[in-house]
Symmetry: C2
Subunit: 194 residues, 2 copies
């Protein structure tokens, strides 16, 4: 199934190691293909996030709803990204987040217990996990700096890091992701053209 080919390529590329035929069979046996329609929820606030999904096609947003009923997007996810609430997934605690498909979404999903097995038995998988952990740690460091950035600076950072997001997601989603009102983002874009 071509879904899995992209997945295998991804693992091999990130880890720098090859998957054996046995590895591939093990992954194919335990990662379940799943489709979600636009607006469908992968995770709802209050539920334990039992699954982690590898995005084959489509996109999703992770968001919270505050006391005033306002939504705040924490993450926008696209192809070849992992989809989960790591805290809830690792610790089996109820999630504070919602994860919703923004477009028709195709994922390969698995459970915590299965992931533990892959880590133990598939060399490329655990190497990939380490690389992703490093990347996450680095991304976290960068994110921490964002507190001190102005609206313009946060926008500029997005433009340079994820330029394709601007085409792919509506402006109000981008604004929410940047922690801005959509009016402010609209004005920033106008000024940026000059």
């Amino acid at each position: 199934m071509s879904n899995f080919e992209a997945f295998f390529d991804y693992i091999q590329k990130i880890s720098g190691k090859l998957l054996s035929e046995d590895d591939k069979h093990l992954l194919t046996a335990h990662f379940k293909p799943r489709k979600l329609r636009k607006r469908q929820y992968f995770l709802q606030e209050g539920d334990v996030c039992k699954y982690i999904g590898f995005i084959v096609k489509g996109s999703a947003r992770t968001f919270t709803v505050d006391e005033k009923g306002h939504e705040h997007i924490l993450k926008l996810s696209v192809e070849n990204w992992w989809l989960t609430d790591f805290e809830s997934f690792y610790r089996l605690t109820p999630s504070r987040f919602n994860i919703e498909a923004l477009e028709e979404l195709e994922i390969l999903q698995s459970t915590n217990a299965e992931i533990e097995e892959f880590l133990k038995h598939i060399l490329a998988f655990s190497a990939m996990s380490n690389v992703i952990s490093q990347n996450n740690t680095i991304a976290a460091q960068k994110r921490m700096q964002a507190i001190n950035y102005s609206a313009e600076e946060r926008y500029e950072e997005l433009v340079s890091n994820y330029p394709h997001f601007l085409q792919r997601f509506p402006q109000n989603m981008i604004a929410s992701y940047l922690g801005l009102s959509s009016e402010t983002l609209s004005r920033i874009k106008k000024n940026a053209l000059k």
Copy 2:
């Protein structure tokens, strides 16, 4: 050496695994004790962060200096925390950060190449590394939410997560860590008393 006892305890506690005598010898042979005086730099902007340090005693701050010459604290670190710029340390790229001792600082330090060896040969060490990665990923998720928090909310979050920081660090450092001016923090504290 009692320095190492605390370090071993930490590894065993976090990993949930025991260190063998061989493991301990390997760690003792490669982690070098080092002392830094107050105000001394562990890392300067522009340098590659060659070391990772485990804090035995004391505290440090990780900060950047912006174009206007203003300092922004990204991280405050205390006993039993790791001290490094992970991006620079993992990727061997010049760092954008400064790391400075805030108090007399005692660490056990090691290099990237040595850490790789520990990960390969010491089961408890690699288990610890995985747990820390999970924690980092979760912390990163939480930090991302901070963008949407008001000054008060960020302060309240600090109070509940790291209450001892308030005793240990001067208020202007806390303010910088929260991304606030020290005047604003002073006013928040006054209001919070009511």
